[in-house]
Amino acid sequence: MGADIFDLVQHSIVLSDRDGHVTRWNAASEQIYGWSQTEALGKPVHDLLKTRRKTAPLIEQGLRESGSWEGDVERRAANGVVKTIRLKCVLSSPNEIVETGADITDKRRLEEALSRAEHRYYNVFRAMAVSFWELDFTAVGGMVERLRRAGETDLPGYLAANPEFVRELIRATQVIDVNDLSESMFGRGEKEEMLASLEPYWPEASFPVYAAAVVAAVQGKPHFAAETRLSSIDGREYDVWFTACFPPEMLARGKLLIGILDVSADKRAKTALEMSEERYRSLFHFLPVAMLQVDRRELAEVFLTLQKQGVNDLQMYFKEHPGFYEYAANSIQVIEVNQRAVELFRARSADQLMGPAARVWSEARETIQASMASRFSGAARFEAEMKIRAFDDQTRDALYVAHFPEAYEREALGLICMLDISDRVEAQTKLARMQAEFAHAARVSMLGELTASIAHEVNQPLGAILTSGETAIRWLDRQEPNLGELRALAVRTVSDARRAGDVIRRIRSMASHGEPELAELALNDVVEEVVMFLGPELRRQAVQATLDLAPNLPLVRGDRVQLQQVFANLAVNALQAMAGQESAASSSKPR
């Protein structure tokens, strides 16, 4: 079949049997839909072109009832692009349907854009009042004219290069009249005050807009409009939509009408929204914290129902209703995550984290229950440490912060931030273990040290007592005991026994924190005793103790043992602080 008249029309023409299977497909159809005739022949036309599902039955109904259907349909071309087709279908014989279609996609888009723009335009003018100013710029006209006569041909360039000249132009522009809105926007209650130079209202940053308006007027443009920033007489600044009309009859009289539309509020609101949205975006995606946005709509409703039923303790409810937690955790949907979250969970992509939150919280049932319970009781924030199982099957520690911003409450959205604290937890655990070990070692060593020195102090007099006693016995065994010698031995024995008793008494008071024994003490002696006492410990840790003692200190009244304990504690603290360091200095200076 050669080219025939069908192929010469610009409209798509498709013939099909009563069931819609394509029997003819012209050149324009290939053009519009992207399918060749060979590809299209025999296929059901609505399936091939994905005629919008709702439309196809309507077409069929039209054909059945009146033999024809006309309307706009959405179809998909071979390359996937959606097109709007103005379609006319006719049942030309009992077993043949002829459809003609015109691609109106672009036209439709244009129409929509236009109607949107009109709508917006209408809204702006209806909703907002305009500030009107009548200006006399005779002087300005003269200044520009003089410039032209002086040979300046590039007015825009000259104005751009000479802001001071623009300032003079503005200063020379006189306000003749303003409307009420202008008064309230730009004045401070007195209209007369405003009927002077335009200068106070025109900040330097807006000079280029004034210059552009002058250029437009000089070039004979009928009007000029631009967005700029103007100031009230007392310095409040407005973002405005500035328009100037240059009707020839007014221009001839050196008069000018300008309209000023305050867009500040609108603009500010828009900017604030944009900014907060943008801030949120960048915060969400670039904060060095894993963030997940969750949709908890379903759970929020369940919470409401439970509260209506009088449940007020969710933790109790969890306990009484096994399975409720699983349901609740699965009802929360993760809907957005940032890159850090993907990294934290060692996921391949964000998609892996989307969906029921239960998977994400597999290791943290108690934390999540507590979080839900806190939300249930109205808290806006919950924070706890938890464990997570990442997709690499490793368990990590994370700081979990759930936040339910008020602004999101209507949508029942929640934000969850998670901070990877595995390293910190590990470091803390290690540190705690080390400290425990060190404290234990120090205790053991101190105890050993104490025992040894107690033993030494007691053994010393005991040794003397034993020797003296045995010497006395040997004297008594002699036929003529030397009574003087025996007496001396007895005296020494008693004195040594007292000495041993003193040692024991001191130890006992140290152990039981007994009454302090106040005495006049030389502090330096006490310090030296402590250093001696700690000597083995210092040597063991390869620590050198240097004493820098003030000479001639007055005696102080105190308990020797208690003071020794104080100094020993200071020294042990210093030892512990220096532990593990190659070289360190720690100094304790009594004041």
């Binding site: 040894a452 030494h456 007691v458 053994n459 010497t471 040997r474």
Partner: protein, 121 residues
């Protein structure tokens, strides 16, 4: 019984006096010193047959003293006595080459046994 005196070195006066008294009763001559340093200076002028020295003293310890004497070729038998009981310390004292280490308080019999080992009793 050798004619030379026995040197007693201890920074605890009571111990010094008691030991010297006992030794004299047993028929020895005893000279006492408060420290190893005192023994090294004054004692070197007075030859002795045996040294009984405390281990822990301010300044040189009994073990240090034994080492010093060994280094200068003086092998006077030495009995170490101590009030301390840490195993490490006792092991060190025993390894120093002393005839014996007596832990205070000790029996006179133990001291006599030591002196016999030193061939002075």
């Amino acid at each position: 019984m050798a004619g030379l005196p026995i040197s007693v070195i201890d920074d605890d006066e009571s111990t010094r006096i008691a030991l010297a008294g006992l030794l004299r009763l047993l028929g020895f001559e005893a000279r006492t010193y408060e420290s190893a340093e005192e023994f090294l200076t004054i004692g070197s002028l007075h030859p002795c047959c045996c040294i009984i020295s405390d281990v822990h003293m301010s300044g040189l310890s009994g073990i240090d003293l034994k080492r010093r004497l060994d280094e200068s070729g003086q092998y006077t038998p030495m009995i170490l006595i101590t009030g301390r009981s840490e195993p490490r310390l006792l092991a060190e004292a025993t390894a120093s080459g002393a005839i014996c280490v007596l832990r205070k308080p000790f029996d006179t019999e133990a001291l006599l046994a030591g002196l016999r080992q030193a061939n002075v009793a």
